[in-house]
Structures are given as C-alpha cells and as structure tokens.
C-alpha cells in the first residue's frame, strides 16, 4: 500500500534437498531480502513469522518431500512493511496455484499517542505512534493467523485494533479477487 513495494517470487513445489525434506509434507522456506544490506536478525524473525503463517494455510500434505521457496525482495519501504510482505506472499501463493485452506491478508494498525487508530500507517506515522500492531487475518471467519506488536498498548486498544483490522481485511480480499479476475480474464 502506498509507496511500500515488495516483490514476491515463489518456486515450487520442487525437489527438496535430502537434509531439508519432510516425509509427510512440503517444506516451506521464506527468504526476505532487504533493500540495502545483508539480511540480519530482523529479517530472520520476519521470515519465521511469514513462514509459519504460510505453513498454516498451504496444504503441505498434498506435496510431501518437496520444497516450496518464497523469495521476497523489498523494493521500497514507506511504512507497513510486514503487512505488505504478507499480502505479496499470499498473492504469490495464489498465482502459483498452490492448494490453500484460506487466503490471508496483512493489516497494520498504528495506535497514535492520542488514542486514535490509524490503518496502514506511513513510515512517519509509524514513528510517531505509540504502538504498531500487525495482524494476518484469514479469509475464513476472519480469524487471526498472525499477530505481531511493537510498542505497548492496553488490552482494549488491542481488541479495537483487531476489530478494525478485520473490517479492513474485507477490502483487501476484494482487491485480491479483482486482481486475480483481471489476470485470468485476458
């Protein structure tokens, strides 16, 4: 959203290395490359978040002993990076035609010092915010697939952000549908 852009490339299901293959399901790997510099600890923790989110929706049991690799390259970062990565990952999974149990979308909420909730904050709004919460919302029953918070907030505020994120998820899913329709209607 906005100026943040992430390029996602998905490879798989492909032959997995013997050391990495799992006997009953597909082995998912996520690689996140920042715009500048080498991937560091922050990228690793983001990769872990993305990987486990994708593992929850991808039906790995249909492709045992294979590897699915997702490579994300950050092209520009103007806020809400994690949810941009989540959306890119989901669209890549859709585009590759992998079997999924549900779609997911990433929504970032920023809690401003005066208590108002802002969705999809820009980098400057993120800095000013008291807390930033990122949620991955699943398309089935709008359940929470992934949650990550930065900064502290009260329990009620978190619930409010969650409700706002769930409402916003509808808009994003509509966008997915439109994009896919456009791609396949040519």
């Amino acid at each position: 959203p906005g100026d943040t852009s992430v390029l996602a490339g998905l490879y798989g299901p492909a032959e997995a290395k013997v050391s990495k293959e799992l006997p009953d399901r597909a082995a998912l790997e996520v690689l996140l490359r920042p715009k500048v510099g080498l991937p560091g600890v922050m990228e690793r923790s983001r990769e872990q978040l993305l990987r486990q989110t994708c593992e929850a929706v991808v039906l790995g049991v249909l492709h045992p002993r294979t590897a699915i690799t997702l490579v994300l390259q950050v092209l520009s970062d103007a806020g809400s990076l994690l949810s941009c990565c989540l959306n890119a990952a989901c669209m890549a999974l859709l585009d590759a035609g992998l079997p999924l149990t549900a779609l997911f979308c990433g929504v970032t909420c920023a809690l401003q010092p005066d208590g108002t909730i802002l969705l999809d904050p820009t980098a400057r709004q993120e800095q000013e915010a008291r807390a930033i919460l990122t949620f991955a919302i699943a398309s089935s029953e709008r359940k929470v697939l992934m949650a990550n918070t930065k900064g502290s907030c009260s329990v009620e505020e978190m619930q409010q952000c969650l409700a706002a994120a769930q409402r916003a998820a509808d808009t994003v899913f509509q966008f997915y549908r439109d994009s896919v329709r456009r791609r396949y209607s040519k």
Partner: protein, 288 residues
C-alpha cells in the same frame, strides 16, 4: 507414544489433562537462580528459588521451567553513544541455542530460531521500556553503558521465550553498575569499582506462551514434545500495569478474537505470580 504421538496426545487432551500430569492451564515448576553467592532454597508452592551463578558476569540468573534451563549473563561495558542518539546507551540481547541443548540444533552459525528469539527479546526490551536507554548514558555524546545480555539455553524442553524473558529480567535486576565519572581535565573516564548502583528497571515484563492444538484447545507452557505436535503457538508479554508489551503469534492455526482475549487474561494472572516470585528472590539476596 513414539508411533502415533498426535493420537496419544489427543487422548489425554480429551480428558482435559496432559501426559505429564499437568492440567491444561498449569505451569511447570519454575526455578530461579540469581546472583553470585550461594543461598538456600526457597520453596513457594510450585516455584523453587535457588541462588548462585556466574562470577565473571555483572549480573546473572538461571531459570528452570520444568526441564527447560536458560541462563542469562549480563556484561556491562563502556562505549561512545551513536551519533544520532547521543544520550542513549545500548542493550544487546543475544539468544543462543547451542547444540547441547537439543538434538535438533546443529553447531555453526545461529539458526533461525535463535535469531528470531534474539529479535523477540530485543523487541520486548524496547516495547516495554524495561530499561530506558537514556538511563544508560553517563556523559551525553561521550560515554555510555553497553549491556551485553547473553541468554544461553542449556536444556530445551519447550517454552524458550518465557524462560528467556524471565532469565533476562532476573539477571538485569541483579546487575550492579559501578559509578563512572569523567575527569574534566584529562577527558578520561574513571571507574569507581567500590561504589555500585543497581540498574534502574522501570517495567517488569513477563512472557506467557501457549500452544494451540487442533485450532481450539489452548495449553499453557508447552514442552518440546507438545510444541512439535501443536498447530500453532502464541506468546503474550504483559507488564505490571496490565498493558500488552507484545503479542507474538507466528502463524499457526487461526484464532478468534475471543480466544486471544482468553490468552491475554491468563497472561496477566501469570504475570502477578511471577512478579511475586522475583520480588521474593531479590529480597532474599540483598541483605545490605
């Protein structure tokens, strides 16, 4: 148990209990070890406290959560603050999962789990404002403290994040920083080892981890076996005001908002217990 672990577990979960005899909402026995001297053992219901640890570190603590053993050593060094934040010191947490703690960790560069855990701890410190970096500054622009917090897991039986946060908190409470003054004329720093002040810790965050089974059942404090079988994990970090410092749910089965709320309430209760425990230990090792 070895052939069909999931079925084995499901049978227990149907009866609302776990193979090791615990209830779904019961934590394992917690043991905390702080400081440099050896003290006696304090038993408080399910919590055991023993003192005694690393002598080369400025502050240290050992935490045992059931079989999961995590040790944290804090070393304080001096450095020049960064150019853009001249009045802030540094805290550098580093989580290590050496190959001796569990067979799935190989020796070599830190694996993804260790790095993700290090990032998590750094986020908790930052989010909870446990240590305000400005407090670590000695002379703005010239000298500041750097706290290297090394968290090493000695035995991995699940629930690494809870134990690490606990160990970090206990170790930081134990840190005594010597007074450092800058000699105006020479511009050099003088360290006064005789006079030591404890570290100013503003908040006390406590982490509570849950494992999700089959999208609905939540169990608290998972062992390594339970973690492998679980379909998802959630870690909630709260501070003493009941504010959320971190909600960490790395993927895994989807949860409804109500379930998440349930986790949060349990985390707040747990926080109170753990706080009582830490206070007790601290009181017992400061006779001065």
């Amino acid at each position: 148990r070895t052939v069909e672990p999931l079925e084995y577990y499901r049978r227990f979960l149907k009866e609302n209990c776990r193979p090791d005899g615990r209830e779904l909402g019961e934590f394992r026995t917690t043991t905390v070890n702080i400081g440099k001297c050896l003290y006696g053992i304090i038993v408080t219901g399910e919590v055991l406290l023993i003192s005694g640890s690393i002598t080369t570190a400025d502050g240290s603590a050992l935490v045992k959560l059931g079989n999961t053993t995590v040790i944290c050593g804090v070393k304080a060094e001096l450095a020049a603050p960064a150019a853009d934040s001249a009045n802030k010191g540094y805290i550098v947490p580093n989580v290590e999962l050496p190959s001796l703690c569990a067979e799935r960790f190989r020796s070599g560069p830190p694996g993804e789990e260790a790095q993700a855990a290090s990032q998590f701890i750094a986020d908790v410190i930052e989010n909870s404002q446990m240590i305000v970096k400005e407090d670590l500054c000695i002379a703005s622009g010239k000298l500041a403290w750097v706290l290297y917090c090394d968290i090493i897991c000695l035995d991995y039986d699940g629930n690494l994040l809870d134990a690490s946060v606990f160990a970090l908190l206990a170790a930081l409470k134990n840190v005594q920083l010597p007074l450092v003054t800058i000699n105006e004329e020479t511009g050099l720093s003088e360290v006064n080892l005789k006079q030591k002040n404890p570290l100013i810790i503003r908040k006390h965050p406590v982490a509570t981890s849950f494992a999700v089974f089959d999208d609905t059942l939540l169990i608290v404090d998972p062992t390594a076996e339970e973690e492998d079988l679980a379909t998802g994990t959630v870690t909630i970090v709260t501070d003493e005001e009941g504010r959320l410092c971190s909600v960490h749910k790395p993927g895994g089965s989807p949860l409804t908002g109500a379930k998440l709320q349930d986790c949060i309430s349990r985390a707040i209760t747990r926080h109170k217990e753990v706080k009582k425990l830490i206070d007790k230990v601290i009181k017992s090792i400061t006779p001065k």
